[in-house]
Amino acid sequence: MASLKLDRIGKRFGTATVIHDVELDVADGEFVVFVGPSGCGKSTLLRMISGLEPVSDGDLFIDGKRVNDVPAAQRGLAMVFQSYALYPHMTVRQNLAFGLENLRTPAEEIEKRVQAAAKLLRLDALLQRRPTQLSGGQRQRVAIGRAIVREPRIFLFDEPLSNLDAELRVAMRAEITALHRRLRTTMIYVTHDQVEAMTMADKIVVLRAGRVEQIGSPLDLYRRPRNRFVAGFIGSPQMNFLKASATARDDAHMNVALEAAPATPVEVRARASVGPGSPIHVGIRPEHVRLDAPAEPAIEVVAVVERLEQLGGISFVYCRLPSGEALTVQVLGPLGQRAGESIALRLPVASLHLFSGTEDAPALTEH
């Protein structure tokens, strides 16, 4: 059980900087997920926390103690690797016991902890097997068990579920969450899958190209994405982005006219730091687009249905707007229209996110 603090952490390989000034506070017992597209530096950041990769810049604190120069073994952390990294020549029992043997733990204590971990992870019957004789899910549990027996201060997970099939991934997700609830140990989890991040995390850290884009709770990120990158990354299906022009009205409001519906500008609450008629992006999540006319103010557009995915409970409608832009809509239940027919859509003003310019420019809306 420990807290973790990253103070302006950076990583350089030769002249290339791959991690820039990462600042992060992880409270004791928190479940933090690092998420981002591949190559964003999330695994490197995790390896720096683990001690397997030296820190180039900044300071790393565990429980308030600076650990930059403490070797991996002495940081008291345990890591679950993407490839599980089970020792292939050892049985499950030996795999679990190896770390404790290195610490010169007494034999009966090792046996006790191995048994406890095996029971917790339902590995009792597999203790004499070798990793090659186990299924993917079982190997994953052994890898987690190897971390548990050490009773680490912080668990580190490096994309632990990416080698499993979809069904098993959902099950293991629940198991890891349940494990966190039971152990209440600080956990740091790296994934590129935003669904994993949303379902498991107390706190999500969105990374891109070695920089932190946003830190917050899952719902926080969903409701108040700080920029267009986070808005597009969090949420499935992805948020729709439509081109528009904006004119500031006063300090807190601006008039927005979609390219798809230039004749009907609406007034949106937003930080008005743009000049008159400047091009902006309007974001709206597929689940917020409505077919019926809501009481609240909304932009009305007419679109053509290009493709339909009926899942029974919900349907995804892929539409094309008059401006040529694509728009994905999620509706409850089946849909009456068919591909090729036109459909009237309402974009509630309260659900709009306004973004200016580039992907990482800050959002204009404040929900």
């Binding site: 890591m79 490839s83 020792y87 020549h89 290195n102 050490r150």
Partner: protein, 350 residues
């Protein structure tokens, strides 16, 4: 085993042997004779008495004079096939021979002596293995001593070779230090220097270290082999780095990672190197010949060489020693040959 029989008698022609079958089997039989003929001849000859070895024309099998125990005579008597006066042929035992007349007895009736013309008798020969060749070399010469020296050098040098080369390979494959490629290339480049060129420098070093006439003087210069480092390094590159990271997270020291993770996982490559090393050390001749000059330090190879006297050579003992010298290598090959195949395939060298 039906599969083995099918393998040995397989033909290309469905009904009658094809001409390629004749060619293939002819080629294979020729190869078999060329490869195994000398070995078979040597093994068979090692069971011959000196007399049988000098016989002309030479026989492949160790035939010897048949003998029989006759009551009334202390020693076994040699058996002869004799044409007696009435024209019949009888098998008799020879008591003595003086000049052209041999005195014979019938083993069934030992009391009656028969005089026979020496021209009318012919030796009775039978398969006779002279096991004495093998028994006597242990008593007559310091053969046990030579065997021990060879075994000591082979085993100790192989163990040290495995450990040293594995450590070097571990460092060169898993640590990213400045110049690791340069070090590796330098190790490899020593392959280009023929051993004969560094014979004198090696000798000077060994002599300065006071290791002349010591078994360690044979062992130390041989343990660091570029081939071994290369073979093990290439194999260790295939061991995932994540395993080492996992072991580091598991509090394992670098030495423990080497001992508990790297070595067990390199077993196939280690087996290949072990086989090579055993063969190199066991068959090594030139270097031991230079370092070891006192006969009590001789290895088997040196002893075999020294056993060829200036005037006479006791071929029966020499051949028996040679057969014993061949046995360990044969055993190593028989038991570990599958490792050679898999190891060479995965390491992709030699």
């Amino acid at each position: 085993m039906p599969s083995l029989r099918a393998l040995l008698t397989g033909t290309r022609g469905r009904t009658a042997p094809d001409w390629t079958d004749w060619l293939t089997y002819g080629y294979l039989v020729l190869g078999l004779l060329l490869m195994f003929g000398p070995v078979v001849w040597m093994v068979m000859s090692s069971f011959k008495t000196p007399a049988a070895l000098n016989e002309f024309p030479p026989q492949l099998l160790p035939y010897g004079q048949a003998e029989v125990n006759v009551p009334g005579y202390d020693r076994p008597l040699p058996l002869y096939r004799v044409k007696v006066a009435d024209g019949a042929t009888r098998t008799l035992a020879e008591v003595r021979r003086i000049g052209l007349t041999a005195t014979m007895v019938d083993p069934a009736h030992p009391q009656d002596e028969i005089k026979v013309d020496a021209k009318d008798r012919e030796r009775v020969r039978e398969l006779k293995f002279a096991w004495g060749n093998y028994v006597e070399i242990f008593g007559k010469f310091a053969f046990g001593r030579y065997l021990w020296n060879s075994v000591f050098i082979t085993v100790v040098a192989t163990l040290i070779t495995l450990i040293f080369n594995a450590m070097a390979a571990f460092a060169l494959s898993k640590y990213r230090f400045t110049g690791h490629n340069v070090v590796f290339l330098m190790v490899l480049s020593t392959l280009m220097i023929p051993p004969t060129i560094i014979l004198v420098p090696n000798f000077l070093v060994i002599s300065q270290l006071g290791l002349l006439n010591s078994l360690w003087g044979v062992i130390w210069p041989a343990v660091a082999t570029p081939t071994g480092v290369f073979l093990l390094r290439q194999y260790m590159l295939t061991i995932p780095d994540e395993l080492i990271d996992a072991a580091r997270m598991d509090n394992a020291s670098e030495w423990r990672i080497f001992w508990r993770i790297i070595l067990p996982l390199s077993a196939p490559a280690l087996a290949v190197l072990a086989i090579f090393s055993v063969m190199w050390r066991w068959n090594d001749f030139l270097w031991p010949l230079i370092v070891l000059s006192r006969s009590e330090n001789f290895t088997l190879q040196l002893a075999l060489n020294a056993f060829q006297g200036e005037l006479t050579t006791q071929w029966n003992y020499l051949l028996a020693m040679t057969v014993i010298t061949l046995l360990p290598i044969t055993a190593v090959f028989a038991f570990l040959q599958r490792y050679i195949a898999t190891g060479i395939a995965s390491a992709g060298v030699k």
